[in-house]
Symmetry: C2
Subunit: 462 residues, 2 copies
């Protein structure tokens, strides 16, 4: 879109050299890590304060210019691309820890800080922020996409761990969605409304996060299974026993092959669980032993476990390298990464049927899953120049998502809708999407906050 001259002048007056329309910067901000077509913004600005962020929103509101909040650029569904042009608001210069409240086990941070930087800064407090989506995402971005990852089975997702937000609303007012108390029943839960709204309802300028004590002891385990159903059944029993598992990850045989190649390891090429327990020395030993007994009951005879840090990281290193290990299975290919989440009782069926489709697709598609939550990812390895492959990949993707929906699941467990899953959201929630549209239209009547994401403006029938 052509931006108004007067708008540009005023934006320059706020941001000076922290405003750019350089092609390389715009390109970098239109892409993220998604496989979707890039849509660069017209401008990129880098606010350094809440005041600047608010001034920008007020200016954009006056000229009805779209804004796209941007963090680390690690989103996967086109969540931060700019299909309607406008201003990309790169929040990475607002990356400070504002306060750490050790007694309350919480902290206030600016949205541009990355989760790893935050954890580095938390070290002396004896606390940590557990949500780990893999990438070193920004906290603001993680809040916006309702991210989760490996630790969600124990510590919850961003949904459970954002205590409150400061947000510039589309009309330019600055609000706090809640106080710092651990719980509240004071009015609508605007915090949770904002978490997962992918920047479509406002610009997050501060995040209050729940923190946890660093575990006194950690034990880790891996176990291969003869078949996928046995592995899933084992997970279900571990959960039903109430074992306080901190992570419970699944790698299919293809992914294990990739890991073996990538890291020179020799895991059995079989569906494999990776587990981690957090607790006291005595507690984590007991938990691992119980998990072993359960695994044995499902044919998991090669259960290995470790408590010493070096042994644990050896055991888990396979899990920690899945992206590059996956890509290594087909050098030069790109990965279409996608996720679904189903009730765990439906997980084995969902995975087995998906594996059959993978065979039919003749593509290499490793699977990795946060199976304690019923969540798994496909890394569909394709040559993006090969239209036939891309079409087979697309078909595989769509079939899997539709299957997850049939099995009472969701089209995305943790990546968000972005542009990539817009059509599936309607399938998933039907008329509830109209309620979302109604909320969006009320809060952002000019549709200037990250337009074109989550849902189309009009209903399918309209």
């Amino acid at each position: 879109m052509a931006l108004d001259e007067s708008f540009l002048q005023q934006a320059c007056a706020i941001f000076g050299e922290r405003l750019t329309d350089a092609a390389a910067v715009r390109q970098a901000h239109g892409l993220s890590e998604a496989y979707h077509a890039p849509h660069p913004p017209d401008l990129v600005v880098f606010p350094e304060s809440v005041v600047e962020a608010q001034q920008l929103v007020q200016l954009c509101a006056r000229f009805k210019v779209p804004m796209i909040p941007f963090g680390a650029g690690t989103s996967l569904e086109g969540n931060a691309s700019a299909p309607h042009g406008g201003v990309c608001v790169d929040m990475t210069r607002m990356n400070q820890v504002i306060e750490i409240n050790a007694d309350d086990m919480d902290c206030r941070v600016q949205p541009g800080i990355s989760r790893k930087t935050l954890n580095t800064q938390l070290k002396d407090s004896g606390l940590f922020f557990p949500i780990d989506p893999g990438a070193d995402a920004s906290i603001g971005g993680m809040a916006s996409t309702r991210a989760s990852g490996t630790m969600a089975v124990r510590y919850g997702t961003m949904r459970e761990n954002v205590i409150g937000l400061e947000v510039v609303m589309p009309n330019g007012t600055l609000i706090r969605t809640s106080r710092r108390a651990r719980k509240s029943s004071a009015g609508y839960d605007l915090t949770k409304l904002m978490v997962g709204s992918e920047g479509t309802l406002g610009l997050i300028t501060e995040v209050t996060l729940r923190l946890y004590p660093l575990p006194e002891a950690v034990s880790a385990a891996t176990c291969p299974f003869t078949c996928l159903s046995d592995a899933v059944r084992c997970v279900i029993e571990i959960m039903q026993m109430g074992l306080s598992v901190a992570r419970i990850e699944f790698l299919d045989a293809v992914m294990i092959r990739g890991v073996n190649q990538y890291a020179g390891m020799s895991h059995a090429e079989a569906p494999t669980l990776f587990l981690e327990f957090h607790g006291t020395e005595q507690g984590v030993q007991e938990q691992a032993q119980r998990a072993q007994e359960i695994a044995l009951g499902h044919g998991g005879e090669k259960f290995q476990w470790a408590t010493r840090p070096e042994d644990r990281s050896r055991l888990w290193s396979a899990r920690d390298n899945t992206l590059y290990a996956g890509l290594g299975l087909r050098p030069g290919a790109k990965a279409m990464i996608t996720d679904v989440c189903v009730p765990i009782s439906q997980l084995a069926e969902c995975l087995i049927e998906t594996q059959k489709d993978i065979v039919s697709s003749q593509l290499i598609v490793p699977i990795v899953g946060h199976v304690g939550d019923g969540n798994f990812h496909l890394l569909i390895l394709v040559d993006p120049e090969n239209a036939d492959e891309v079409s087979r990949a697309r078909h595989l993707h769509d079939t899997m998502v539709e299957r997850a929906l049939r099995l009472q699941g969701t089209c995305t467990g943790e990546h968000g809708i972005g542009t990539g899953k817009i059509d599936f959201l309607e399938q998933e929630l039907g008329q509830a999407v109209d309620v979302m549209r109604c909320v969006k239209a009320a809060i952002d009547p000019d549709n200037i906050m990250n337009p074109g994401k989550i849902f189309r403006k009009e209903t399918a029938g309209a």
Copy 2:
């Protein structure tokens, strides 16, 4: 209000004898357990199906008649009274468990089922629903007020434990807010928007709940402290150690006196903590021992603990009788029950200053708190006929709430706003309340769902 004749005829056609304007029934539905002035509805109806509930909403929408959803009538802030008249929708006949999914550890229930009835029906599954607000509230009501209670420190509140809802929206459409997957990042979190909205955004017709394995072992403990600060400091350390405490409750000396009188016990009349741990046999022993060490470090020398059920219930019986024990301190008095919640670092100050005000008020006011969350309740014992007393009670109440807000807390941790805390919500969240109004106006433009609750329709300045 005078209800339209045609409206009445059509309502009768739906509900027949399950529609009444009998004074006694109306009175009973205008009151709840709140100390606030009762506001009876014009009519009470008892739907028995989703179809009837939806027909009712559509009818009320056509005639712009207010609807007030009603569960067990145990709310405390006038959440279910009818200040604008209209139809009270008593959901207690929709009280069935629809399905229990043991593998997924969840269940679908109708909103009128009470939490105790649900737990009775869950018994054979080895699972339980932990949220325990004290009263035997309905699940729909608990979702509506974002209830919590003693177990929240371990299991979360209704916010964390409602997986999804079926809701009749004010325009009569029936939606599901989410699928049954454990997590999702598919669009706005309508589930969490509805939880805590106190019936102002729609009529809940089904609730999907998260369940937990019954703990293999439970240990319980009590410990009196010389002063309140020591007790709170002990709680903070227990939380920071990451002990997996399932309940951690505080009774002040006045409440202990009440308990001693009521149940013929002989607890030291001192600020006292009640603790409970859930886990394995070995785990709960270890946790209790660690808690004892921490308590000792804060002068808690009379730490008592127990694992056998009969010993545990003896220890905890004091905590389980606080309402009647409190009322027993002043026979004939009524209790104004209210709650606030602050960051735990502010809890000691908030409690100590409140106790000073209690002394000044010359009223008897026992305190009981879910201190792991920073949440506590006053039971202000008053003679409602004595205007001076009521005024002193009111002053005590308001001063405490304002203090909690100054200390970064919330005006209600778990009772909701209802009519009782409307003015404090504005103090607490400022312009964020305008965002709530904006959402309300968009979803319920005719203001027919539980009008007059949570906020006034217009801003204070308007």
